[in-house]
């Protein structure tokens, strides 16, 4: 336990987790994402919490069996879209194709990408 707590310390620690995490889709596509961008999702944030004993936190690798590569691609695009424009006044629209909308709706619901979580980063 002590070792785990020390690992969750400040970023200057050499044993600090890497800046990037890997998200894996059900059909095997891997996406390397900025950790800070991915942590907008409270689910991923919980998975990657170093204090937890999850395997995801140790490997910085989250597998989403129920998401296809196409959907996870859009989710990852959104993470970076949010990261890029979170502080700007003028936010352009991100295009979401209609044929993906239902799957993305379910994915967003699963990942907790809700307005309430948007406001408190």
């Amino acid at each position: 336990m002590k070792r785990l707590y020390s690992a969750s310390g400040d970023d200057a620690d050499p044993s600090a987790p890497s800046k990037y995490v890997t998200l894996v889709s059900g059909d095997g596509f891997e996406f390397v994402v900025l950790r800070e961008a991915a942590k907008i999702s409270p689910i991923i944030k919980g998975m990657l919490d170093p204090r937890s004993q999850f395997a995801e936190a140790k490997d910085a690798r989250c597998v989403f069996q129920e998401m296809s590569g196409l959907v996870l691609d859009k989710v990852v695009e959104y993470f970076h879209y949010w990261y890029r424009y979170k502080d700007s006044e003028d936010v352009p629209d991100m295009d979401i194709p209609v044929e993906l909308c239902l799957e993305l709706l379910a994915a967003a619901d699963y990942l907790g990408l809700d307005q309430a979580n948007m406001s408190t980063k």
Partner: protein
């Protein structure tokens, strides 16, 4: 002549089916009985059992198309028989049944395996296309086939039937379209619901031009007038806001609770009657039509149960606003005199002044209210607290910004990025299959279906937009009420256009009706209320001299 002489003798006449018979013209021709043979298509043979044609056995699938002919096979005799010359009656002739190319030489007795006759069984064809009403077997037979095709979808609601009243309304609309009448009178028809399809037809109205001699043909846009007064409508069809030529819309005496923000699409609207409904607020987008350049010149708002600001006092003192004297209570008519030529279009017909704002209600993307303050527009509330007021009217401002800060926290900054949930919903909203989408996610939790249902309903009503940036939104994260006071203006100019006078008079004379609530929706934190930027005056054209009118007929 020759023929007639020939017929005096007994002649051999070849008749149907190839028989040569000898006839006398005086006698009735006697046909020999048809042979008791039948052509069997399966075996390519004659059968002497029955003349009934054999039943085609489709399931065997071995019959070539050549052999499928429903008519009786041709029967012919061998004309080129050398024995024909010394023909004597009664001589047995060789008879063949069937076409010549189906006759096989006697030597060819190789068994044709394909043409083996299959045992006939009494089974029923499913797709025979013939069934009897009393035949109960059809249902069970088809049911087995359909069960495996069923998709795992939720049961869909039955389509709503059109009511009698709407049928009558539709008939009237068709009449108007036929005759080119621009005034569609649907007064007091007992309408409870009006579907999009009924109203949509009005978009196709074509103005029938007035053609006479010596008058130039001028194409004119139709000026549609729709009167839906005195019905029982609780919802408006969204397609009514797509009627760009709508000039007059009367909704008086219905049971409407909310005017959709899509009203701002009706740019040509001149007359709007909203009286005697159940409106608790108006959309902020209605103010677009009241702005300078808007055509709306006749707006009727009362009586409606509008939400009133808390602490609105009835006795209000007149206050001095700059050099202009204005009155915050429904005051008398005010005259503005301008010593310069003016156009009537410089002055809007309705002037509005900002009075105050309610606290802001915050929602998450699911529509759950997070803030302490709840606008509760559905419930029967009549008073809401005031958070920020213009201080010119006796509104008791509460100044409770805790809702704003409690959500923002101390160090975090609100982001203008919409949530992915909202963005996916907007994408669903663009789909033409939006009403059916909720049935495609059978195993998902119910709240997603609820959201899709909500989006579908909003699309039906014409959609919601952000009051600030005009983007389409599904679940507004923020909404609040702003109260405004209205005045009507009248423009006068003297003949030489040296000066102009604008009379403004209060919209209402009842002190409890001054504040008109307008609902604002914002898509993100950036589009939130901007109280400091608000212009709190009447926005009269500059350079006027304002004074109170003693009596309206001053000039």
């Amino acid at each position: 002549m020759l023929g007639s002489s020939l017929f005096k003798y007994p002649v051999q006449v070849r008749v149907n089916r190839g028989y040569y018979i000898k006839i006398q013209m005086s006698d009735e021709p006697s046909l020999p009985p048809l042979p008791a043979v039948s052509w069997d298509q399966q075996s390519q043979n004659f059968s002497y059992i029955s003349r009934k044609r054999g039943r085609n056995n489709h399931q065997a699938g071995n019959s070539s198309p050549l052999l499928f002919n429903s008519s009786d096979p041709a029967v012919f005799s061998s004309d080129d028989d050398p024995g024909l010359d010394n023909y004597v009656e009664g001589r047995p002739k060789k008879r063949y049944v069937g076409t010549w190319f189906q006759q096989r030489p006697a030597t060819d007795d190789a068994p044709n395996t394909l043409l083996q006759q299959t045992k006939r069984t009494l089974t029923r064809d499913y797709d025979s296309g013939v069934f009897l009403g009393s035949d109960g077997t059809t249902d069970t037979d088809c049911g087995d086939h359909l069960n495996c095709l069923k998709l795992p979808a939720r049961p869909r609601p039955h389509p709503i039937r059109m009511s009698q009243a709407e049928m009558a309304a539709r008939q009237k609309i068709e009449d108007c379209l036929d005759k080119g009448h621009e005034s569609v009178d649907l007064w007091s028809m007992g309408l409870e619901e009006l579907s999009d399809g009924t109203i949509e037809r009005l978009g196709q109205i074509v103005n029938i031009p007035y053609v006479t001699k010596d008058v130039a043909f001028v194409p004119r846009e139709p000026e549609l007038k729709v009167f839906l007064s005195l019905n029982r409508l609780s919802r408006l069809p969204g397609s009514i806001f797509d009627l760009t030529h709508l000039v007059v819309l009367s909704l008086r005496g219905n049971q409407l609770k909310e005017l959709p923000p899509a009203i701002c699409k009706l740019r040509n609207l001149k007359q709007l009657n909203l009286s005697h409904n159940l409106f608790s607020h108006l959309p902020a987008e209605l103010l677009d039509l009241l702005q300078l350049g808007g055509k709306l010149s006749d707006l009727t708002l009362y009586a409606n149960p509008f939400i009133q600001p808390q602490g609105c006092t009835e006795s209000l003192e007149p206050e001095v606003d700059g050099n202009a004297e204005t009155f915050s209570c429904p005051g008398p008519e005010v005259t503005h005199r301008y010593e310069r030529p003016m156009e009537e279009s410089e002055v809007p017909r309705y002037l509005t002044r900002w009075l105050g704002r309610s606290p802001v209600q915050f929602c998450d993307s699911m529509g759950q209210v997070l803030s302490d303050f709840h606008t509760a527009l559905d419930s029967e509330i009549s008073v809401l607290p005031v958070e920020v007021s213009s201080n010119k009217i006796g509104l008791a401002a509460t100044y409770s910004p805790q809702a704003w800060t409690s959500l923002r926290g101390q160090e975090t900054k609100p982001s203008a990025v919409p949530s992915l949930l909202e963005m996916a919903l907007r994408s669903c909203y663009r789909s033409s299959q939006l009403p059916d989408l909720e049935f495609y996610i059978p195993e998902a939790p119910d709240h997603l279906q609820e959201l899709l249902r909500r989006a579908s309903l909003q699309k039906h009503m014409g959609g919601l937009i952000c009051s600030n940036c005009r983007k389409t939104l599904i679940v507004p994260p923020m909404q609040w009420i702003e109260w405004r006071e209205l005045r009507t203006s009248r423009f006068m100019s003297n003949a030489r256009e040296e000066f102009a006078i604008i009379y403004t008079s209060p919209y209402t004379n009842d002190a409890s009706e001054i504040a008109v609530p307008f609902l604002y929706r914002a898509c993100s934190w950036n589009c939130g209320p901007k109280d400091l930027d608000k212009d709190k005056g009447w926005n009269m054209p500059e350079g006027g001299k304002t004074f109170r009118t003693i009596h309206p007929g001053y000039f």
